[in-house]
């Protein structure tokens, strides 16, 4: 069937901010859908609240709305844009839920908008757990015994009558299994069920028989309107049932199924598709298989593209989201050409002649107190994928791609207190298995505890046997001949790992290896196991004979990506890499992307001319450089990961373009940087570096408390803290510091200062400021976690002029060639420079969207030798209206973790709100961050003494606006004393009925809570955590409270309006 001509314009909904369970994979799928449908001539209306995404770049849609993803806002957009159709399947669960909301509220019918790619009925059948189970029974398929409940009492009955303990609890309609858990007893059951019911938009949870120990598989599927059906990929989980797929190590293709078993899953999937009524598009089905008798249970189906489908697309070269979008507008699979072969159709099933391993990346260190045991609720913040010809090769590549300082399986000893510890799924379990193998624990025992398939454990044994042989024979580097090297490399051993085993430096190993003629070859991901020639250079390294890189002789630039998403280094850097790529392509360069993150747009084979899906280690990148011989290498766009290897690349002769490695060093080297600032007469907070514990203590004393301390060479403020006294410093040194050779930085902490972020460009001759952002939270909150506003809303012209002047002088003084970011603090009329980062920053996409100037593109062009004058970017853009960026924090996923903000970044994502007034922009950002500001109800206030005067002003205004005020004792007393009526509420420690009871009963609609000092610290932590669990907006700083008040006032005056970026920037763009 050809494409539909009865629709002309299509609305696509994105997935909103990056949160655990819904990350940049939906930027990838959204970009693919936008590109594919625009290429077919459709007008695209895109809605997504996440400014860091590539899809929200105005070039990808005809009308781009960076607006909150709510029914009301989308209804306004629909009324304004009048799309003919809505494609809800490429924006994750968020888009699907929103589409259901738009349909059920009548908006779609009112404006005659058709749902394409999914029907309401099929979404309901797939997403409603009980309906889905009933449907499975109806078509003769088994699913785990379970009961849908909507109260704790019903759950208790269900466990007693049907499932028994342990029981698996999963809320309906939530992302990443949010709010789920395994209950081993009644107390746990009560807690998890209550939370799950609250989190489920329909107030339901599923109580399942636990299938702990069963094997888990997933099939990624596509179907067109003719009923043509293909399995794109089979995925096998290393972790057995009980661990969320997003937290599981997974392998593609499935390794331990016979053909009959695989075809059975395929047949079941097809039956499920037919019955659920997925008429077109992609979906996945998850199965559990009993390893003892092959019995199959259907676990669930997602009627949309997903994290797994992004992985499957990267794993196979079959672009699921792109094809799903084309199928949704009427094409059939056989009408679409396979991009890789360019001669065969998309109506086929990819055949893989390699093995793909995905390992999740967790960031538990950021969340003190979080339960680190993996379960049905996803906790990973990112993932890596590696491709190898064999499982051991792929596994070891994936391990080093994680960028956690581990060069291979078993390279870093992971303590294993007892074999029984292997039973507990954690982030360390893979490494504990390596330890268990080294300790001689039998395969049977390891399998018994982990319930990994013995096949995988045996493969790991082979890897560890090589490790052991080298150690046992005490082999030195010179003992290894070419044959040994080849064997090591085919098992995925990195040069660093070999160096560690033989006592040599990684680079010495590399030199020896090259001298022996053992070089990486590159194979193509071709969808067809070499049956047809691959036209698209999508490559991975291996140490087998034959090379298919076939580099060209064109001028070429290599761009290093950011690796796995983690807190502090996420989609913003992928955005920058992708833009660098586009810019260089426009300049006529061949672009070469290197990255190992399957969730990204950068690893779409369609983004760069050539894609190397490889770990971002010096070894792996140098291998590619050896083969490609690029004219330039860009390390400044992918965050800290590529910067960490910049030295090694440069030392090996790689041509680093843009800001030099020396400049990057200068900015990180405290002593040299301070000297430069003194030379430029620029003020800094007092600071020092220290290389050991004693020095740290001495320097802190010299500077005077409070101090801000942090390790150097980290991103996202990892382990950064504000320390008020020596005792606190000792605790921090003990608990948070690993001495890695990089010094500790100690700075004077500027209490109550305003912070400002500046993104600017320098070409060596001239500086142009991209944007000046004011943080809404005061100093002490990590810039990544702080809301910020562009343009600044309360900084004097005097200070702005100083900031501009400093920015110019610093850029030129450092010799930056490209983007840099400076953080300033303003305190007592003095402007201080806190930090300079001569690379693309987290705020670049936000500034680019607010100003309409693609800063990352400019930076790439500067790296390629253009000047700002060439680019015509010589004036700081003026901003029309206000753009507020708000951080999105994962506390809902981590109950029990204190939700207070601090100097260590913990947000996973961001949203943007824009409007002509600050109040509206702020309100939009809060709505988009799922903390909608109430315009009436009860505000609960509990602040420290220092904040009482300020909060009194706020409370007075809130009361005047009709809010009922409740407050904890000290605050209530103060408020009542100054004439603001406030009802007293007990702190938790004062006993019931207390603030938590009110919160749980839904009697509180807004919380203003600042940390109360150490004594009632616990109280504050409980309230903050509970607020996140109950999704009640919580404000933890006075400046944010002021902003909130402004928002409420504005909202009461005037309703929110929406505007596309294209409409916004039209009058200003040339």
């Amino acid at each position: 069937m050809p494409k539909r001509t009865d629709i002309q314009s299509i609305m696509i909904i994105g997935s909103g901010p990056i949160v655990i369970g819904q990350a940049s994979e939906f930027d990838y799928s959204g970009v693919q859908a936008c590109k594919a449908l625009r290429a077919q001539g459709y007008r695209i209306v895109l809605v997504n609240s996440n400014p860091a995404t590539i899809m929200t770049d105005p070039q990808f849609a005809d009308a781009t709305y960076v607006e909150p993803l709510t029914v009301d806002i989308c209804a306004q957009i629909i009324a304004q844009e009048r799309p003919d159709a809505l494609l809800p399947t490429v924006g994750g669960q968020t888009a699907l839920n929103l589409a259901v909301g738009l349909k059920e509220s009548g908006v779609l019918d009112q404006y005659g908008v058709q749902l394409i790619g999914a029907s309401l009925e099929s979404i309901r059948l797939a997403e409603d757990r009980q309906l889905f189970k009933d449907t499975m029974t109806e078509i003769g398929l088994k699913s785990p015994p379970s009961v849908v409940v909507s109260s704790v009492e019903q759950a208790l009955n269900a466990v007693r009558d049907v499932t028994g303990y342990p029981a698996l609890i999963r809320p309906s309609f939530t992302l990443g299994g949010s709010g789920g858990g395994v209950a081993y007893n009644e107390a746990e059951l009560r807690e998890i069920v209550a939370r799950g019911i609250r989190l489920s938009p329909v107030g339901q949870v599923l109580v399942d028989k636990s299938l702990l120990g069963w094997k888990e598989y997933e099939l990624e599927l596509m179907r067109d309107a003719r009923g043509n059906f293909v399995v794109v990929c089979s995925i096998e989980n290393l972790d057995p049932m009980g661990v969320h797929t997003g937290d599981s190590i997974t392998i593609a293709p499935a390794q331990t199924l016979t053909d009959k078993e695989l075809q059975r899953l395929r047949n079941y999937s097809r039956m499920i598709f037919d019955r659920i009524g997925i008429t077109t598009g992609g979906a996945n089905v998850q199965f559990a298989i009993n390893p003892d008798d092959g019995q199959v249970y259907v676990i669930e189906m997602n009627p949309r593209v997903s994290r797994s489908s992004a992985l499957a697309s990267k794993a196979t070269g079959f672009p699921i989201a792109k094809i799903a979008a084309l199928l949704a507008v009427g094409f059939t699979l056989d009408e679409i050409t396979n991009d890789i072969t360019r001669v065969t159709p998309a109506s086929f099933e990819p055949s893989l002649d390699y093995v793909v391993v995905k390992i999740p990346r967790w960031d538990f260190k950021k969340f003190v107190g979080v339960d680190q045991v993996l379960g049905p609720q996803m906790k990973a913040v990112g993932e890596v994928m590696a491709i190898g010809r064999t499982f051991p090769e792929a596994l070891q590549k994936a391990v080093r791609a994680l960028d956690i300082g581990i060069s291979g399986l078993g390279s870093k000893p992971e303590p294993l207190p007892s074999p029984l510890a292997l039973r507990i799924p954690t982030a360390q379990r893979l490494f504990q298995v390596a330890t268990a193998i080294r300790e001689g624990i039998s395969l049977e025992e390891i399998v018994e505890q982990t319930r990994f398939d013995p096949w995988f454990v045996q493969q790991m044994q082979m890897t560890m046997a090589i490790h052991e042989t080298i150690l046992r024979k005490n082999l030195r580097l010179d003992d290894l001949d070419a044959h040994d090297f080849r064997k090591l490399k085919q098992h995925g051993f990195s040069d660093a790992y070999i160096g560690q085993l033989t006592g040599e430096d990684e680079m010495v190993v590399r030199a020896r290896r090259l001298a022996l003629g053992v070089r990486a070859n590159f194979y193509r991901v071709d969808t067809c196991a070499a049956e047809f020639e691959a036209q698209t250079p999508y490559l991975y390294s291996t140490y087998e004979e034959g090379d298919e890189a076939f580099p060209t002789s064109r001028p070429k630039v290599m761009i290093l990506g950011g690796g796995p998403n983690r807190i502090g280094q996420g989609i913003e850097f992928d955005y920058c890499c992708v833009h660098a790529c586009f810019a260089l392509s426009e300049l006529g360069y061949e672009t070469i992307m290197v990255n190992c993150n399957p969730e990204t747009v950068s690893t779409d084979y369609d983004t760069a001319d050539r894609l190397y899906f490889e770990p971002l280690t010096a070894e792996d990148v140098l291998n590619i450089i050896d083969r490609e011989k690029p004219d330039g290498v860009l390390v400044q766009f992918g965050g800290q990961t590529p910067l960490n290897i910049a030295h090694a690349l440069q030392a090996s002769g790689a041509p680093i373009w843009g800001t030099s490695v020396e400049t990057i060093d200068l900015a990180e080297d405290r002593r040299r940087f301070n000297a430069l600032m003194r030379e430029l007469k620029i003020t800094q907070p007092q600071g020092a570096t220290a290389n050991n514990r004693e020095e740290v203590l001495a320097q802190a004393r010299a500077i005077g408390y409070p101090v801000l301390v942090r390790p150097s060479y980290v991103l996202g403020g990892r382990n950064m803290a504000i320390i008020f006294d020596e005792e606190g410093l000792e605790t921090w040194l003990r608990e948070r510091v690993e001495w890695t050779g990089h010094p500790i930085l100690i700075d004077q902490f500027l209490e109550d200062a305003f912070e400002v972020d500046v993104d600017a460009l320098c070409d060596g001759q001239r500086v142009t400021i991209g944007g000046i952002m004011q943080h809404i939270e005061e100093a002490g909150i990590h810039s990544g976690d702080s809301a910020c506003v562009l343009p600044p809303y309360k900084i004097s012209q005097y200070h702005l002029d100083i900031i501009r002047d400093y920015t110019v002088r610093i850029g030129l003084g450092l010799g930056v060639k490209g983007l840099y970011n400076i953080q300033y603090a303003i305190k007592d009329d003095e402007v201080y420079v806190l930090e300079v980062n001569p690379r693309a920053s987290r705020t670049v996409p936000f500034v680019s969207k607010a100003t309409g100037h693609p800063l990352a593109r400019y930076a790439a062009q500067i790296a390629a030798g253009r000047t700002l004058e060439d680019l015509g970017f010589i004036k700081e853009p003026s901003i029309d209206g206000f753009f507020v960026k708000e951080a999105v924090l994962p506390f809902q996923k981590f109950p029990g973790v204190d939700a207070r903000l601090g100097p260590e970044m913990r947000s996973t994502g961001e949203v943007m709100g824009h409007a002509s007034s600050f109040g509206h922009a702020f309100v939009k950002a809060q709505i988009a961050a799922n903390m909608p500001i109430p315009t009436r109800g009860t505000a609960c206030i509990s602040v420290n003494d220092f904040d009482k005067a300020t909060v009194a002003r706020i409370a007075r205004e809130l009361a005047a606006l009709g809010f009922h005020i409740v407050a904890t004792q000290g605050t209530a007393d103060y408020l009542n004393r100054v004439g603001v009526q406030a009802q007293r509420v007990n702190k938790v420690s004062e006993g019931s009925p207390h603030v938590l009871d009110m919160l749980k009963a839904g009697q509180i609609h807004l919380i203003i809570n600042t940390p109360l000092g150490s004594q009632s610290y616990e109280d504050g932590a409980i309230i903050r955590s509970a607020a996140y669990q109950a999704a009640v907006p919580i404000v933890t700083t006075m400046s944010a409270a002021m902003a909130t008040l402004q928002g409420i006032k504005r909202l009461l005056q005037k309703p929110l309006r929406v505007r596309s970026l294209q409409a916004h920037h039209r009058p200003h763009s040339p």
């Binding site: 009923g227 331990t256 159709p345 093995v355 067809c528 070499a530 049956e531 047809f532 004979e545």
Partner: protein, 373 residues
């Protein structure tokens, strides 16, 4: 296990590790892109005189079981993989791949750079080759000579070597956990199946659908078949050049119009030849479980299992016959029918095993044809 080597007639020599039996064996080197189903492939008689290279790297993971045999023995001349699994992990396992090939006296090679090999075969076409395991692997010059002197697949009648010596009745059905359809009928319509190298799953698909099946040797004359008063005749898959199986082509010419006929693979080629078409050898053929075949009658695309090195030529004059299926990768003829003569056939493998089950409907069509619908 000791050294093993693969020597192609054009001089490419690939060293690896041998497994299975020791010795030397020649065959036509072909590659298969199925990611599962090596046991079915090994025991498919169509691979007779062929050395099969698997593109999927890890092979042997699930071992060997009783059920997944497509015939009573292994037919391949050699089996080449990237990484033989040292252990077996599957609930149905009975034996390891290594042990099975040893018992079957078939040479296996592991640690071969299979992707490089497959690209070589793709570019130059399938060719004669020799596998050697053990001492024989040393003398690559002799092995090269042996490869160059091996028979040519063009013009080779291999059917006589693989067909059953005696007729037999087939009653076994498939296991219902793998296939849903089960209507066994001991008094159902009789099908006489010519065994040119038949796979068991074809027979199971027929018994599952209520057909009574008698398998006869390839050289059984048409008159004898007609004397059995069958309701339909089935022409099976098998190895070698279809044009060389002249007696079968003659028999089919006799049978055409007398009784409904269904052919698969070699059976399809024989039907094509009997209708007056031509066949030709393909450069590297189709072997795998992911081939898109379009049913021109319905417009549907089937993902199908393939194993063929010959095909009915696109310029064939089928004298009233029409093309019903084509391969979307290269437009090869994958199915034909002659409604007047009540005959139809497909080049690919609707019985799958291994491969997707998208094309089982063809067996239902055969049932309908047999029932005169």
């Amino acid at each position: 296990m000791s050294a093993g080597v693969l020597v192609l007639e054009d001089g490419l020599i690939l060293q690896g590790i041998g497994f299975g039996a020791q010795g030397v064996q020649a065959g036509e080197a072909v590659f298969n892109t199925s990611m599962t189903g090596y046991q079915e492939i090994l025991t498919d008689p169509s691979y007779y005189r062929q050395i099969v290279v698997m593109t999927v790297p890890h092979v042997g993971n699930t071992g060997i079981n009783r059920e997944d045999m497509e015939s009573e023995r292994v037919w391949v001349s050699g089996f080449v993989v990237r990484a033989l699994s040292p252990i077996v992990s599957n609930w149905r396992q009975r034996d390891s791949l290594d042990g099975f090939l040893r018992e079957q006296n078939v040479i296996g090679l592991s640690e071969i750079p299979t992707r490089q090999l497959v690209r070589h075969l793709r570019e130059r076409g399938v060719m004669r080759a020799v596998v050697a395991h053990g001492e024989a692997a040393q003398d690559t010059e002799a092995l090269l000579e042996m490869a160059q002197n091996f028979m040519d697949m063009n013009g080779a009648n291999l059917v006589d070597d693989v067909t059953t010596p005696e007729p037999y009745h087939w009653t076994e059905q498939s296991d219902p956990q793998w296939y849903a359809q089960h209507r066994y009928d001991p008094n159902g319509p009789l099908i006489v199946a010519y065994d040119f190298g038949i796979k068991r799953n074809i027979l199971r698909m027929m018994t599952d659908r209520g057909l009574r099946v008698t398998v006869v040797p390839a050289r059984t004359p048409a008159t004898e078949v007609l004397a059995m008063k069958p309701s339909g005749v089935f022409l099976s898959n098998g190895p070698g050049d279809p044009a060389a199986v002249d007696y079968a082509i003659d028999n089919v010419r006799h049978l055409l119009g007398q009784v409904p006929i269904f052919g698969i693979c070699l059976g399809h080629q024989i039907l094509g030849l009997a209708l007056g078409g031509r066949t030709e050898k393909m450069r590297f053929g189709h072997r795998g479980g992911n081939q898109p075949v379009k049913n021109l009658l319905t417009g549907h695309v089937e993902i199908s299992a393939h194993n063929h090195g010959f095909a009915v030529t696109q310029d064939s004059d089928l004298h009233g016959g029409e093309v019903t299926h084509i391969n979307l990768n290269d437009q090869t003829i994958e199915g034909l029918r002659h409604p007047e003569l009540r005959a139809f056939s497909v080049q690919y493998h609707p019985e799958a095993s291994p491969g997707p089950h998208d094309s089982l409907y063809l067996f239902d069509e055969f049932v309908r044809a047999v029932q005169g619908e």
